[in-house]
Subunit: 239 residues, 2 copies
DNA sequence: CGTCTACTTGAGTGTGTTCAATGGTAGTGG
DNA sequence: CCACTACCATTGAACACACTCAAGTAGACG
């Protein structure tokens, strides 16, 4: 709840787009020739800062440059998390049809975003087939991801959910060129539990068990994957 | 598995578009002036017929005129259902980015579809802002629906899932102008259980319990909602 | 009328929850 | 630098919901 400003210390703070760590995942860069008019570069948010309040009129899409965001809805004062977003991810595609943001968005750590004005993007879609195809692609991918998530959560038990969650963090970083087996969780146990629809106690117990079976090594927010194939098997990513 | 042809008996079989029951839900109709070139009208599928096999090259979107479809993936020979589609629904949006269908599609009953060639739709998006906005809208709605589904399935217990499922059938029909409290399930108990990630025994027990508490009256595939507000409360649709 | 499949019901088991207590860690102030 | 606080995470015990296995019933169809 602390929205007070803290100086950003992220190393990538002053990195120019050309050197941006997300590289080929950067939508604005890919559309360098066309999108620079609609792009606001490197907006900064501090840890725990609310980026968007649910219900705010929809205006722009957020692309994460560095850091992490979560999206959530609030029902009867209770937060329900429905997504974690990492560098290269785009946030807000669900809100186009409603003309308002369906979720609140909050920074999990100090975060830098690039932002796309949707009205301008829309115009570009009509003018530029490359932009059109890219946006349609992005949305279609989003739908596909959610389909898989639905399947995953309706079919998996707690252990599989958590394995799946950790494995997906790993592979999302890997897709972005960071193939390290050491992951720093930017969210709390309670956030994870909330998101997966299990309790924090269960998260804790399963993490302990995965340490006993030498699949992971856990130290607070730091997770080290010791047996990636066992993790992938548990995650049952093919389901 | 019976793909043999059976004569269609659907009453709406020969209904002209102007009188089509889905009315204002009909995307082709809304775009009457522009889409008739890309639209194949009233393709017929018989009960249990496979419309699309998973992996087939993506080519067209299906819009349901009458009947019902399900989509599913097959993992190690086991079917995992990830959606049921009713008249007015559009199927295939998830497959745009992959250039292949990610799911198999099967007719739950005799079904009539209209079909949109995606390549043509894409051209129209560039040419016509109305088409552009409609397609973006449809995709965004799809994303939003899946978000809700994820939340729903990660947070709800079996009773809430089933209540939610039945309530959503009711409200989807209601959105299409059919506000009847009597619903005919076009899918089997086993399909429902598969989709919700619970067992058929649990589905059965919960339906019995909902009859005892006079929320529903169940007779085979026919469900009559006796207490819609209690159902909505159980469904916790706000979550 | 008998067969096949779908659905329902029952009994026992197990996974994950709730409730409760304990252990750790980060941040704050003396 | 240590003590204190507050929050977060872990562990334990008892319970409950949904599962598995098994038997029985109803409905569809030849």
């Amino acid at each position: 709840m602390q929205d007070i400003y803290k100086p950003l210390r992220s190393k990538s703070y002053s990195v120019p787009c050309e050197l941006c760590s997300i590289g080929s995942m950067c939508i604005p860069m890919l559309l360098n020739n066309t999108l620079h008019t609609v792009l606001n570069r490197k907006h900064e948010f501090t840890k725990d800062q609310v980026v968007i309040h649910e219900g705010t009129p929809f205006q722009k899409l957020f692309i994460i440059h560095s850091g992490a965001l979560k999206t959530y809805v609030t029902v009867n004062g209770v937060e329900q998390i429905n997504g974690f977003y990492l560098p290269g991810d785009i946030v807000g595609l669900d809100s186009i049809s409603n003309n308002k943001y369906n979720n609140s968005i909050k920074a999990l750590t100090n975060t830098l975003t690039c932002e796309l004005e949707y009205d301008e993007v829309k115009k570009l879609i009509s003018q530029n087939a490359q932009v059109r195809d890219m946006i349609l692609d992005l949305m279609s991918k989003d739908i596909l991801n959610y389909q898989k998530l639905v399947l995953s959560y309706s079919q998996k038990n707690a252990e599989e959910k958590l394995a799946s969650f950790i494995y997906s963090l790993y592979s999302r970083y890997a897709q972005r060129g960071h193939t390290s087996l050491n992951i720093k969780l930017s969210m709390s146990r309670s956030d994870i539990a909330n998101y997966l629809g299990i309790t924090i106690e269960t998260v804790s117990r399963i993490l302990t068990r995965m340490q006993e079976t030498e699949i992971l090594s856990v130290k607070g927010k730091y997770i080290s994957i010791k047996n990636i194939s066992a993790l992938a098997r548990l995650a049952a990513e093919n389901i």
